[in-house]
């Protein structure tokens, strides 16, 4: 996850009348649609995991340890004879959950803080900004590793660690957006009319910062999924016997020579789902971007 806010995410405020054009634009972008399809596919697979016709993800078969892909096990079996396909399907749940929940944590904490800083300015802004900078200064993964180690290795804690580490981006973004919105003519005139704080936030600030937040959130889900995989790969995420793509890779790296399929498929899955979210995020950004038409 990068401290560099994508140059095109921090968009100019979006005047209300342009918003309905967004869907039209999104629909016409092939890559955005491709991203949507990929994400939807994994979402459906994850949701349908319990009813798909595969063995249970923790069902072991001693007689079929590390067997190459075959008809009963299309993706092969793992180090204790479990079906890799089944573990990938169930692993999709862990990855998507990690991506979405950690970003939710980041958004729900970061956006109010950022808005507060941008709206109140002064000391509040100074404190929040220093805090954000301090968080940003620790490289993301090192921060997440330390946090995950501190909280104890588990999927939930990995999500919290990733969420906290991703929070500064949202603080920065919503602060910057709020500051910009506050200087708009129509906001200034609204203020002159005497609309209260809540009214200001609800009527003008929130609607204007939501589009870039959605774009950033979609892109951050992509990085969060990689982050979860990285933490699980280091043994700090999902714990056995529950499946997760990163954890599968952690084991698989010990059997590269004998069972390369154990390493291949989870990696491809991470790649695809992350690509999906990135494409989707790009598409959303172009669609919501008021600058070019």
């Amino acid at each position: 996850m990068t401290a560099v806010v994508d140059p095109e995410v921090a968009a100019d405020p979006l005047p209300p009348r342009r918003r309905n054009r967004a869907w039209e634009k999104f629909r016409r972008s092939p890559s955005a649609l491709l991203g949507g399809v990929i994400v939807l596919f994994f979402l459906i697979v994850a949701l349908l995991a319990p009813i798909l016709p595969v063995p249970g993800p923790t069902e072991t078969d001693w007689s079929a340890v590390r067997k190459a892909p075959s008809i009963p096990h299309p993706f092969g079996t793992d180090e204790i004879g479990r079906d890799v396909l089944s573990r990938m399907i169930w692993g999709a749940q862990a990855s998507l959950l990690a991506g979405v929940v950690s970003v939710l944590i980041a958004v729900l904490l970061g956006v109010p803080l950022g808005m507060l800083a941008g709206y109140l300015r002064g000391w509040t802004d100074a404190i929040i900004s220093r805090f954000t900078e301090a968080l940003l200064a620790a490289p993301f993964l090192i921060l997440a590793i330390a946090l995950a180690a501190f909280l104890g290795p588990s999927l939930t804690n990995a999500m919290i660690a990733i969420g906290l580490s991703a929070m500064p981006i949202f603080i920065r973004l919503s602060r910057a957006q709020t500051l910009t919105v506050m200087t708009e003519d129509y906001v200034e005139s609204a203020r002159a009319v005497g609309i209260g704080h809540l009214g200001m936030i609800g009527r003008y600030i929130l609607p204007n910062i939501i589009p870039p937040i959605i774009v950033q959130a979609t892109l951050t889900i992509a990085t969060a999924i990689i982050a979860e995989a990285s933490l699980s790969f280091l043994g700090l995420g999902q714990q056995p016997p529950a499946p997760s793509w990163g954890a599968m890779l952690n084991i698989a790296k010990n059997f590269l020579e004998q069972a390369p399929w154990m390493a291949l498929y989870p990696g491809v899955a991470i790649f695809l789902v992350v690509l999906g979210f990135n494409l989707l995020g790009d598409g959303l950004r172009d669609a919501l971007d008021p600058r070019d038409s």
Binding site: T2, A3, V4, D6, P7, E8, S31, R130, F131, E133, A134, L136, A137, A138, P139, F140, L141, I142, L143, I145, A146, L147, A149, F150, G152, A222, I226, A229, S230, F233, L234, G246, L249, A252, K253, L256, E257, P260, A263, L264, P266, G267, I270, F271, L272, V274, L275, N278, L279, D282
Partner: protein, 314 residues
């Protein structure tokens, strides 16, 4: 300019204090007792007590913090609990390794990212643009630890072309050093290349639309001259800024890359230290990277001002 730098450094001070507090408390909240591990398999109570006393772990945490921060201000970052090497020495030993990795990765990223970005902007809307974009997104989407594993499998285990791990100092055998670092640098460079490509493309797009490019074209200059001399030079301003800011990403990426390829650098040092609960090492590294990161940010802003004089008037 000086006043600007001074102001930025001054603002950074509370941030650094925050980082140090944060790092210190985080380490002390980590579960698990490093002393139990350090005491050895027998876990002799007498040894445990002696070690706690020795490393002042019995003192109240604020006292420990002040002692640590005081020493840190004097340039003493403590010694590694695991190997008893002074942490500063460790950092000095590991830093060149990671810098070499980062520089090589950055070089690969620039070689791929900037030409691809220019091309894609120039051919905006064509299939070339589309392919470049998808490739860049793929580079961003591939988990680099997995890419590393796959490359080891293919290039080292199956083909035997490059060593799977190891490190040779540049000073001892430059050629071998670059050879061993090639695969990790490529892995680390892919994501950076993708980011650079996207930034270059977007900067090029806005420059290509600008008046002076139009003027240059109107003057009948050759397209390659327009592209390189006029457009790219201006587009590089934000790209250079991004490169400085990518420092943090390079460091974070190096953490996993070094782990996969067993490169004895900064990233491997910090991960091993977290797992070994080597307090002094983790604290020192996060503090140092934090400060370095802040400095890079200030430099980036300064660079931006120098390259783009209009900014400094604001």
């Amino acid at each position: 300019m000086l006043a600007f730098l001074a102001r930025r450094v001054f603002i950074a001070i509370p941030t650094v204090i925050l980082i140090s507090l944060f790092v210190f408390s985080l380490q002390h909240l980590l579960p698990g007792d490093p002393i139990l591990v350090m005491a050895g398999e027998e876990r002799d109570p007498e040894v445990i007590a002696a070690l706690r006393e020795k490393y002042r772990l019995n003192d109240p945490i604020p006292v420990q913090y002040l002692a640590w921060a005081g020493n840190a201000l004097q340039g003493d970052l403590g010694i590694s609990l695991r190997t008893q090497q002074p942490v500063l020495e460790l950092i000095a030993e590991k830093l060149p390794v990671t810098i070499q990795l980062a520089v090589m990765a950055l070089a690969i990223a620039i070689l791929i990212g900037i030409p691809a970005g220019v091309l894609s902007a120039y051919k905006k809307g064509t299939w070339i643009d589309w392919v470049a974009n998808i490739t860049a997104l793929s580079g961003l989407s591939v988990p680099n630890f997995w890419l590393g594993i796959m490359l080891i499998l293919l290039v080292s285990v199956k083909l035997g072309w490059l060593p799977a791990s190891g490190y040779m100092p540049l000073s001892e055998d430059p050629l071998q050093s670059i050879r061993t670092m090639l695969m990790p640098a490529f892995v680390l460079g892919t994501a950076i290349a993708a980011t650079l490509m996207r930034h270059t493309r977007s900067a090029m797009l806005s420059v290509l639309k600008s008046d002076y490019v139009r003027t240059a074209r109107a003057k009948g200059l050759r397209e390659s001259v327009v592209l390189i001399k006029h457009a790219l030079r201006n587009a590089l301003v934000p790209v250079v800024t991004v490169i400085t800011l990518l420092f943090g990403e390079l460091l974070a990426g190096a953490v996993l890359t070094e782990q996969i390829f067993t490169i004895p650098g900064f990233g491997k040092l910090v991960v091993d230290a977290v797992f070994n609960r080597d307090y002094a090492v983790v604290q020192a590294i996060v503090l140092c990277t934090g400060i370095a990161f802040i400095l890079m940010n200030i430099l980036a802003d300064a660079a931006y001002r120098v390259l783009n004089p209009r900014m400094s008037e604001q």
